[in-house]
C-alpha cells in the first residue's frame, strides 16, 4: 500500500520545487494581467504590446548593466521609467487615435506594434537568451527544512506581492485612484469637474507599461533575456485574464497566482500537459462561468 503511494506521489522536495516555480510564474502572470486590466479599464484597449514591453524591460536591465554598469537595483527604477516613457510616446503617437473606434482596432494596432518591437529586437539580438546574473545580495538559498528556497526567487514573490498590493491600494484607496475609477465610468463628467482626463489616460498607459517593464526586470535573472520572452507569456496572460475577468484588480492578481500554482502542479503530475493546463482551465471556466470569476462583461 505504502509503495503504491510512493509511486503516485513525487518526493516532497520535487513537489515543493515545482510549486515554487509555479508560484514564480504566477507572480509574473499576476503582475502582467494587473497591468492589462489597468490599461483596459482606462483606455478600453487590450494592450497586445504588453508582452513586448515586459521583454523590453528585461532588455533594458541587461543593456543598462552591460553598457552603463547600472546595477539591478537601479535598473528596477530606471527601466520602468524609460519603458513607461516609451509607452507614453506610443500612446501619444498612435493609440490615442483609436478611442472612438471599435475595441478590436486597439488590439490590432498593439499587435502590430508588438510585431515591430519583437522583430527589431530579434534582428539585433537573435532568438537565443542572454544571461543576466542575480545581484550579489540576493544569491544563495535559505534552508526551509523541507526544501531550499533560492533567495532571489523568494524576493520575486515578495516584490510582486508588494507591487500588486501597491497598485491595488493606489487605485482602490487613494484620491488619485478614485479619479481614475470615476473616469473609467464616465470620462465626460470627470472632465467637467476640471480633471484633465486625456492626460490621465496617457499616464495610466505609461503606468501600465512601466508595470510590465518592472516585471521584466524582475524576470531577467530567472528566465533568460530573450526577444521571445514576451510573446510566450502574453497569450497565457490573456487566458488568465479571460478566466479572472478584467473587472477587478484583486481578481486579476488572485487568478494570476492561483493559475501559476496549478500550472506548477500539472508539471509534477503530468508534465506533457503543463503547457496546455491554463488553456484547458479557461475552456472549463467558459463552460461553467462564462463571464469569468471576477468579470464584468465589456463589448
Amino acid at each position: 500500500m505504502l509503495s503504491v503511494l510512493h509511486i503516485a506521489l513525487p518526493p516532497l522536495p520535487a513537489l515543493m520545487a515545482q510549486l515554487l516555480i509555479g508560484l514564480i510564474n504566477g507572480a509574473f502572470y499576476a503582475m502582467l494581467s494587473l497591468g492589462l486590466a489597468v490599461i483596459f479599464g482606462m483606455l478600453g484597449i487590450i494592450n497586445f504590446t504588453h508582452g513586448s514591453q515586459y521583454m523590453i524591460g528585461a532588455f533594458c536591465a541587461y543593456l543598462l548593466l552591460k553598457f552603463l554598469g547600472i546595477n539591478y537595483w537601479m535598473a528596477l527604477i530606471v527601466a520602468p521609467l524609460v519603458v513607461g516613457a516609451f509607452g507614453i510616446v506610443l500612446e501619444r503617437l498612435f493609440i490615442r487615435y483609436l478611442y472612438q473606434l471599435d475595441h478590436l482596432y486597439g488590439l490590432l494596432l498593439t499587435f502590430g506594434l508588438a510585431l515591430i518591437l519583437e522583430g527589431l529586437f530579434r534582428q539585433e539580438w537573435g532568438s537565443s537568451g542572454l544571461p543576466y546574473s542575480i545581484p550579489p545580495t540576493l544569491t544563495g538559498a535559505y534552508n526551509l527544512g523541507f526544501m531550499f528556497l533560492p533567495i532571489y526567487r523568494g524576493w520575486v514573490i515578495v516584490a510582486s506581492l508588494i507591487i500588486c498590493f501597491g497598485t491595488w491600494f493606489v487605485i482602490e484607496r487613494t484620491r488619485l485612484g478614485s479619479y481614475l475609477r470615476a473616469a473609467t465610468e464616465n470620462p465626460a463628467l470627470v472632465q467637467s469637474f476640471g480633471v484633465n482626463v486625456p492626460r490621465m489616460i496617457t499616464l495610466t498607459y505609461g503606468f501600465g507599461v512601466a508595470l510590465a517593464a518592472l516585471a521584466g526586470v524582475l524576470a531577467a535573472p530567472i528566465y533568460q533575456v530573450s526577444p521571445l520572452m514576451g510573446e510566450n507569456v502574453i497569450i497565457v496572460v490573456f487566458a488568465v485574464v479571460v478566466i479572472g475577468g478584467m473587472g477587478s484588480i484583486l481578481g486579476s492578481i488572485l487568478s494570476g497566482f492561483v493559475l501559476g500554482l496549478i500550472e506548477g502542479l500539472t508539471k509534477v503530475f503530468w508534465p506533457e500537459a503543463s503547457s496546455t493546463a491554463i488553456f484547458v482551465i479557461m475552456a472549463v471556466v467558459l463552460l461553467v462561468k462564462p463571464a469569468g470569476f471576477f468579470g464584468r462583461e465589456f463589448r
Partner: protein, 324 residues
C-alpha cells in the same frame, strides 16, 4: 422604355461580369507567368483569408486563432496521405472535416463571450492546440510531417505535375470561394450582417443569434481547414509554423490589408502579403517588422483596405461592396 435605374444596373452587371472574367483568365494563365508553387501558395492563403473574413467581416467576430484550423487540417491531411496512403481528395476532405469539428467546439466555447474577449479566447484555444501539436508524436515536432506525397487525383491525374496540381488547387479555391460567396449572399448571410450591425436587435427580431454565429464559425473553420489541407499537399509539408499564432496574425493582416468585409479584399491582401514574404524572405526578422508597420498603417489610416478603398473610389464598379 427602360428606366435609368435598370440601365445602370445592367451596365453594372456587365462590368462586374467582365471583371470576373478577367480575374478568371488571370487565374488560369498565372502559372505560365509566375512560379506555380508561388501562385498556389497565394491561392491557399487567399482562401484562408476569405474564410477568416466571413467571421470578422460579416459577423463582426475577430478570431485570433484561425491558425489552429489551418494548421491542424494540414497535419491531418499530411498524416492521412503519407501514413495511411489516402488519395489526395479524401485526404483533403479529412483535414477539412477535422477543422470543421474543431471549429464547432471552439466556436461553441468562444461565442459565449464577445468583442475582445472573443479574440483572446480564440487566441488561447489556438495556442493550446499549438502546444498539443508540439507534444503529439504524429506531428513530428520541430520537423513536421515532411515529403507528403501528392498522389494521383481520382487515380487518374498525377499531381506531381506542377500544372495539374495548380489547376487542382485553383478548382479547390473556386469551390471554397463559391461557398463563401453563396453564404454571404443568402438569407443566412443577411442575418449574419444583421448580427454584425446590431446583435441585440437581431435577437429581438427572434433570431437565435448563437446558432447563426456558431454555424458561421464552423463554416469559416472548415474552409480555413480546406485551405490548410491543400497547402499541405502543395508544399508536401505540415509544420508547426502553420499552427503558430503568427499564422493567425498573418491571415488577419491579409484581410485587413485587402479590406475586411469585402468579397475580394482578402484575396488581394493574400496576394500582396505572399508576394512580399517571397521577395523579403532574405531580410529575416525585417519581414516581421514590415508586417507590424503595415498593421499600424492600416489601422490608423487605411481601415477600408485595398478593395474597400477601391470600392469607395470606383463606386460604379463595386457598387454593392460591403465595406464598413
Amino acid at each position: 422604355m427602360r428606366s435609368a435605374l435598370a440601365a445602370t444596373s445592367e451596365v453594372r452587371f456587365a462590368a462586374r461580369r467582365a471583371a470576373g472574367l478577367v480575374l478568371l483568365a488571370a487565374a488560369l494563365g498565372a502559372p505560365f507567368v509566375f512560379y506555380p508553387v508561388f501562385v498556389m501558395k497565394a491561392l491557399c492563403f487567399a482562401l484562408f483569408a476569405s474564410a477568416f473574413n466571413l467571421l470578422i467581416g460579416y459577423v463582426g467576430l475577430a478570431s485570433f486563432g484561425h491558425a489552429a484550423f489551418f494548421g491542424w487540417a494540414a497535419y491531418a491531411t499530411a498524416f492521412a496521405v503519407k501514413s495511411w496512403g489516402l488519395p489526395p481528395l479524401p485526404g483533403i476532405l479529412l483535414g477539412t472535416a477535422l477543422a470543421a469539428a474543431m471549429g464547432l467546439v471552439f466556436g461553441w466555447l468562444a461565442i459565449r463571450r464577445q468583442g475582445i474577449y472573443f479574440a483572446m479566447i480564440t487566441l488561447a484555444l489556438a495556442q493550446m492546440m499549438y502546444f498539443v501539436a508540439v507534444e503529439a508524436k504524429f506531428t513530428g515536432g520541430e520537423d513536421g510531417i515532411q515529403a507528403v506525397p501528392r498522389g494521383r487525383l481520382l487515380g487518374l491525374v498525377d499531381l506531381n505535375d506542377p500544372l495539374a496540381m495548380y489547376y487542382f488547387v485553383l478548382a479547390i479555391f473556386l469551390v471554397g470561394f463559391a461557398i463563401l460567396w453563396r453564404t454571404v449572399n443568402s438569407p443566412f448571410g443577411e442575418v449574419l450582417k444583421a448580427i454584425r450591425e446590431n446583435e441585440g436587435r437581431a435577437v429581438s427580431l427572434g433570431y437565435r443569434t448563437e446558432h447563426y454565429k456558431l454555424l458561421a464559425f464552423t463554416l469559416s473553420a472548415a474552409i480555413s481547414g480546406l485551405a490548410g489541407a491543400t497547402k499541405a499537399l502543395v508544399f508536401q509539408l505540415a509544420s508547426l509554423t502553420d499552427v503558430y499564432f503568427s499564422t493567425s496574425g498573418d491571415v488577419l493582416l491579409m484581410a485587413l490589408l485587402g479590406g475586411i468585409g469585402t468579397l475580394f479584399g482578402p484575396t488581394a491582401g493574400a496576394i500582396v502579403m505572399v508576394g512580399m514574404e517571397n521577395y523579403l524572405a532574405q531580410f529575416g526578422s525585417w519581414v516581421t517588422v514590415i508586417e507590424g508597420v503595415i498593421f499600424v498603417v492600416c489601422v490608423l489610416t487605411f481601415r477600408r483596405g485595398i478593395v474597400g478603398e477601391l470600392a469607395r473610389l470606383l463606386p460604379r464598379w463595386f457598387a454593392d461592396g460591403h465595406a464598413r
